[in-house]
Amino acid sequence: MDEMTTTMEQTLATAADPDAETERAGIEIRDLYKIFGPDAKHHIAAVKAGMSKDELNRKHRHVLGLQNINLTMPGGKITVIMGLSGSGKSTLIRHINGLIEPTVGEVLYGGDDVCRMSQTELRRFRRLKTAMVFQRFALLPHRTVLENTRYGLDIQGIPHSKSEPTAKHWIERVGLKGYARHYPAQLSGGMQQRVGLARALANDADILLMDEAFSALDPLIRMDMQAILLELQEELHKTIVFITHDLDEALRLGDKIAILRDGALEQVGTGQDIVLGPANEYVASFVRDVNRGRVIRAATIARARKPGEALPEMTVQGYLVLEKVARRMTNASATSAHVVGRNGKSLGVIDLPTLLGAIVTPVTADTDS
């Protein structure tokens, strides 16, 4: 167990930043509260003193949207915000591009407080720094795929001669080559959301906000879209904020996951942190049925080599999830493998029995019962 935690700490350092540092600025949310209602500011003190969402609604007819949010969304990474319906996910993501103003608190991006920007500054910020993908696509029905894709560029006043090649490029990148002249109504839901994604990417903004972007799609298409997003992110390294109420999606996409409940953050960490060490009963109930093989990384369960034990021939990367390690080991008919970090440093070894054990039984005793 002790050994476990030490290796885990080691891992987090490596697994949390799989790639070279990017210079994108992160987003920092500080002491943010949002109360919906005509007299919101008035009730802040009560909420800070611990009044619950229910009580606020019952006594004062105000809705507590968000409370005491402190969250860093690292630049160039995917931060997933997870929570049940009504937990405040959409409210939170809309604070980042100023579609909603906080009752109190700050949203910092590169040293600027989004909440303090003037209308003009905010418009400029939205045009150049952010792009958004919507749950129900929000495409313009009277514009073709191409015209939809260059929408953000049109808004910026970029001439068509310049915006069309960009738009075409992104239409191809999301796999819609040949559909540029179609109207949204002629496309399936999955294809429409690809247009939504292309429109957001064409903007070349640092921040990509995705509010349940894949929730309206059926499972197979959804997996496709997740794959596309991950593939694009490999090279783009945007600062992505992704909202979902689906844990599997969160674990697949999230470099960092934040769990919201009734407007408050319950836990923030990597997928592995959350699955292996749920902070409370609520989070635990979320992660109970999760497929561990897809979450836990090789580095987490790598153990130190026993004295005299030979170094296995097979090498696996520490950031790989166990499912992938298992597949590779089975394919290579190996019973054990050498786990290395990004920098090639040895992290220990992994063998099939440990691997299987980690996939099927809870690694920490109280997660599963």
Partner: protein, 303 residues
């Protein structure tokens, strides 16, 4: 008395009206006061209505004065451009030829000119007001009750203030028609904009649209089907009111109908009525087909 009044006292039987002398005095005072006011402002009123008068005259003259072949060709071209349907064009051609054949061409041209001008004005007035109404709930709470009253007023009642202020003639008629025809335009523009999918307007905001960009790129195009319904209704109401406005001196088919009613000229009334119905149908079909054609992109399937 008791037999008609169940033996009740007089006050309950006959309505206690103001006595005739007081009534007469009051009426006279108000009327002279008002007339004086109008007379005092008559220069201003004339100055404002003069350009309208000229505009109307020019348009009417060009409609009536142009050779009928040219007018017919232009009309059919417009119908074709809007509807893209040979059937509608053919129907319009037959109707217009029939109208000309029974000798109502000139009167029809007068009515057409009037309806065209009134519709243009009503749309030009209704669209911006509708947009403002959609932008602010406060404006809506003022505009809607006004529209409610306007739409419950019988069309004859519109003529009273117009005639008192502007007198009799084409321009007062036109003002009455525009006021009568503008409510559906305002209402449906407002409704159309308010019904635009909030997620799409949010997308426009999220990409940093200015209010103007949002209006032109998103709100108006998405509200267009509803707005076109408004235009269609405005045209229909203009046509209806142009007929009524013949009472205050608007010429054309409406005046013939009015004369036919007054003198019981059966055939003339019948023919003019038919001519009105025919243009109404042409207007309606054409504007509806145009509205539908704007919606082509909403159809699913590959095209």
């Amino acid at each position: 008395m008791a037999t008609t009044c169940w033996g009740l006292p007089e006050v309950i039987c006959t309505f206690p009206a103001i006595d005739t002398t007081t009534m007469r005095e009051t009426r006279r005072a108000i009327d002279t006061g008002f007339r004086g006011l109008v007379r005092e402002w008559s220069d201003v009123i004339d100055a404002t209505t003069a350009p309208l008068q000229t505009f109307l005259n020019v348009l009417e003259r060009s409609f009536v004065g142009a050779p009928w072949v040219v007018v017919l060709a232009v009309l059919l071209l417009v119908v074709w451009a809007a509807s893209r349907s040979w059937k509608t064009v053919l129907g319009a051609a037959l109707a217009m030829i029939g109208i000309g054949w029974v000798g109502l061409w000139a009167d029809t041209m007068v009515t057409l000119a009037m309806v065209t001008v009134c519709t243009v004005f009503a749309v030009a007035l209704g669209l911006p007001v509708g947009i403002l109404t959609a932008r602010s709930d406060r404006v809506q709470s003022i505009v809607n009750p006004v529209l409610d009253v306007m739409q419950t007023l019988p069309s004859f009642v519109y003529l009273i203030p117009v005639v008192v202020i502007f007198g009799i003639g084409k321009v007062p008629g036109m003002i009455a028609v525009v006021i009568y025809a503008v409510p559906p335009m305002i209402r449906l523009t407002n409704l159309g904009i308010r019904l635009v999918d909030p997620e799409v307007t949010e997308a426009a905001d999220a990409f940093g649209s200015s209010a103007r960009q949002k209006l032109l790129n998103v709100q108006l195009p998405l509200a267009l089907p509803t707005i076109m319904t408004g235009v269609n209704q405005t045209i229909m109401m203009s046509l209806a009111m142009v007929v009524v406005a013949s009472m205050v001196g608007v010429g054309g088919l409406g005046r013939n109908v009015l004369q036919a009613i007054n003198n019981q000229f059966f055939t003339i009334g019948f023919l003019n009525g038919f001519a009105l119905v025919a243009i109404a149908i042409i207007f309606d079909r054409t504007s509806q087909a145009f509205g539908k054609r704007l919606q082509k992109h909403r159809e699913a399937g590959h095209g």
